[in-house]
């Protein structure tokens, strides 16, 4: 994974590849737009929806402003509750901590509910290399894991796969009938398979949706109850959270639980909103707070990105995401928020992502914490345009700027174009360098420009 660090992610090429299967692309677009519509209906049912978004924005901004205070408070309260709190400065330290805890407790079979942080830090391969079996228990994540694939969406990890593909994956791993793609049949097979994993597990790993500083407690939201099933039996529970998951107290939680599921899937609330406050009797509860670049982000002009509650609404609404798929971004978190975050990590490698955006700003308006996503992407373009891959583009833009700043020269060029275009053979106009003409016909300049028509009109007026 690290060796790819500097390899340029070409979103355009990846998107072009995705669109080569128009049937699949259309299905992907429609499936996610359907989720966006469910979000609209759910949001419309809350009269104070826009106020709620502003409240969430304010609470997050306040918490980030005083993050040091709230982190200390949280650690103190959580420890008083009997939770062992650990800190990891980066992904490597996090992986090491988790492996050590598991090895210390002799745990070799782990069930893990959804956590984008563990994806970000590459936890699974690290543990598997040490002989620890990790089972992702979220259905979508399990599908992706069995397929040896990666999630393409943070809430709907297997949205890039259709039920027929799931049937194939299950038939080779769970011995189901490959020709039966009935969702109930497949879900039942997954349930039986996961039940066994839950029963055998000797440790559970969960993510954290919200950590409550005042109470020293944390909340995990799932729709499948897999976090609860996972933590119910084993005596060992390791919860993992990025520093930004903190909110001041349980009093603020309602604002976020009301926004999260409505924004994510259009449900009023996630099916399970589980509160964890202390280890179970005789059990052990670890909570690992991971920085991995977050405190640097906190000090930068991109701080607002830490407000994200990972609902995925910006992905569902993004017309580019829906038509290019999550994998086209080459990141763990794709879509608008993923593009903005990637630029803060490795602007060179991810330079194409701020441009994988038509600046339509739809993401800003669905974001439950009102992050100005398109503004961040626009700002990041100032850095990313300087990569070697865009040297030609910059040269072209600078030439265009020169032309447009010199009206006489510009007029002459347009006049030349006006004369030339109708005389050139089609094959010469629609050459491979004409990126516009790949998909569309060129507009033709009018016989006379408005400036000329206006001049003629003024002349006529003056003669009268």
């Amino acid at each position: 994974m690290r060796s790819e660090e500097s390899k340029f992610v070409d979103h355009f090429r990846n998107a072009e590849e995705f669109l080569k299967d128009p049937e699949q692309a259309r299905w992907h677009d429609r499936a996610l737009w359907f989720v966006r519509q469910k979000r609209d209906t759910a949001a419309a049912s809350v009269p104070e929806w826009e106020e709620l978004r502003r409240a969430a924005e304010t609470i997050k901004a306040h918490t980030l402003e005083h993050l040091g205070y709230y982190l200390e408070r949280f650690e103190e309260r959580a420890q008083a509750n009997g939770i062992e709190v650990l800190w990891a400065e980066d992904a490597a330290e996090f992986r090491r901590l988790v492996a050590e805890i598991l090895q210390r407790h002799g745990a070799s079979r782990v069930v893990k509910s959804k956590s984008m942080l563990t994806e970000e830090c590459g936890l699974n391969p690290h543990l598997e290399a040490r002989g620890i079996e990790v089972t992702d228990t979220d259905l979508g994540e399990r599908i992706v894991q069995l397929a040896g694939d990666r999630p393409s969406h943070i809430v709907l990890p297997a949205i890039h796969l259709r039920k027929e593909q799931v049937a194939e994956i299950f038939s080779s791993h769970l011995h189901t009938d490959p020709s039966n793609a009935d969702p109930s049949y497949l879900t039942r097979a997954a349930r039986e398979h996961l039940r066994r994993k839950f029963l055998e597990a000797d440790a559970a790993i969960t993510g954290v949706n919200f950590a409550l500083a005042e109470e020293g407690a944390f909340v995990v939201c799932t729709n499948e109850g897999n976090a609860d099933l996972g933590t119910a039996l084993p005596d060992l529970h390791i919860a993992c959270m990025g520093l930004e998951k903190l909110i001041p107290s349980a009093r603020d939680l309602g604002v976020f639980t009301r926004l999260l599921a409505r924004s994510a899937t259009g449900q009023a609330i996630t099916a399970y909103t589980s509160h964890f406050r202390r280890p179970k009797p005789g059990g052990k509860l670890y909570l690992i707070l991971v920085d991995d670049g977050r405190s640097a982000l906190l000090q930068s002009s991109r701080r607002e990105l830490l407000s994200c509650i990972r609902c995925g609404a910006c992905m569902n609404t993004c017309p580019v995401y829906r038509r290019s798929g999550g994998h086209s971004y080459g990141t763990v978190v794709p879509g608008p928020i993923g593009s903005a975050l990637a630029g803060t990590r490795d602007p060179g490698r991810y330079a194409s992502l701020p441009f994988a955006c038509s600046l339509c700003a739809s993401c800003d308006l669905v974001c439950p914490v009102r992050i100005d996503l398109h503004q961040h992407l626009l700002d990041e373009r100032q850095q990313t345009i300087r990569v070697p891959e865009y040297r030609g583009k910059v040269r072209g833009l600078k030439a265009a700027a020169f032309l447009l700043r010199h009206p006489r020269l510009y007029r002459q060029s347009i006049a030349a174009l006006r004369w030339l275009l109708p005389r050139l053979p089609r094959s010469l106009i629609y050459n491979r360098f004409n990126l516009w003409g790949r998909e569309r016909e060129m507009p033709s300049p009018a016989p006379r420009s408005f400036s000329e028509l206006y001049q003629a009109r003024q002349g006529a007026d003056n003669e009268r």
Binding site: R323, S358, L359, Y410, E439, R440, E441, M442
Partner: protein, 251 residues
């Protein structure tokens, strides 16, 4: 004294769509304004600002302010160019200069709605057609000329309020108020996604039985027109200004 309106004609409109600029001039005059077309006009700088080339952007912002800041109002048949000057010049012009310039800038329908008022509009040309309205992103989500579907606020549309004053017109809305995929240099840098987005918009309007699509941004319309022509899709494109001024000429 009658207030003076300066007409801003986006660079590509001047050469490719002079009828729209002419229509804009005529509507403004018909409302009783003295309209000037100060010259030489240059690009608003949007392609450069949106690609992070702020030095170039600053040069265009400065020449825009030089040319237009003395006027009472600046009106253009484009929400994206006006949006650029209104919101993206911040930080490129001296703050005081930008603060004074920004409130004078109007997209045409916005001007007719906010300054003239839809009831007082003098519009003389009927347009007895079914027209699909393409709400461009800058109009919806930047200039806030209509309610975008994302926001849970009461419905409004300044564009529709103006356009519905036209006798005989039937305004039709597509199912999605989604981006058409033009996006400036996005249209070439991400041409595959851009084209897919545009084709989806056209198909959406076609499903509503629309054969004439109108909008306030010719850049969106130019992109979709190029796609429709390539595919042989029977859809005609027209700027709202041309309907308002009775200057629709479908070749």
């Amino acid at each position: 004294m009658r207030p003076t309106v300066a007409l801003f004609v986006p660079c590509y409109v001047d050469d490719f769509y002079p009828q729209t600029a002419l229509a804009t001039l005529e509507i403004l005059e018909a409302q009783g304004f003295r309209v000037e077309y100060p010259q030489p006009q240059r690009c608003c700088g949007q392609p450069f600002i949106n690609n992070g080339l702020l030095d170039e952007g600053r040069a265009f912002a400065t020449s825009f302010a030089d040319l237009f800041e003395a006027y009472d109002y600046v009106v253009a048949p484009s929400s994206s160019c006006i949006g650029t000057a209104k919101y993206r010049y911040e930080g490129l012009l001296e703050p005081e200069r930008h603060r004074k310039l920004a409130p004078k800038l109007y997209e045409l329908c916005e001007f007719l709605h906010d300054v003239v008022g839809p009831e007082r509009l003098r519009l003389e040309h009927p347009f007895p057609h079914r027209v699909g309205l393409h709400n461009s992103c800058h109009a919806l989500r930047e200039l806030e000329l209509a309610r975008p579907s994302e926001l849970m606020i009461p419905h409004f549309s300044k564009i529709e309020a103006v356009l519905s004053r036209i006798e005989g017109i039937e305004i039709v809305h597509p199912e999605r108020d989604e981006c058409c995929g033009f996006g400036g240099t996005f249209s070439v840098q991400e041409s595959a996604v851009s084209a897919a987005m545009g084709r989806d918009r056209i198909a959406d309007h076609r499903r509503q039985g629309v054969e004439i699509m109108a909008g306030v941004d010719l850049s969106c319309l130019m992109h979709m027109q190029g796609l429709a022509r390539r595919d042989g899709t029977p859809m005609r494109f027209v700027h709202v200004a041309q309907i308002l001024a009775g200057r629709v000429d479908f070749e």
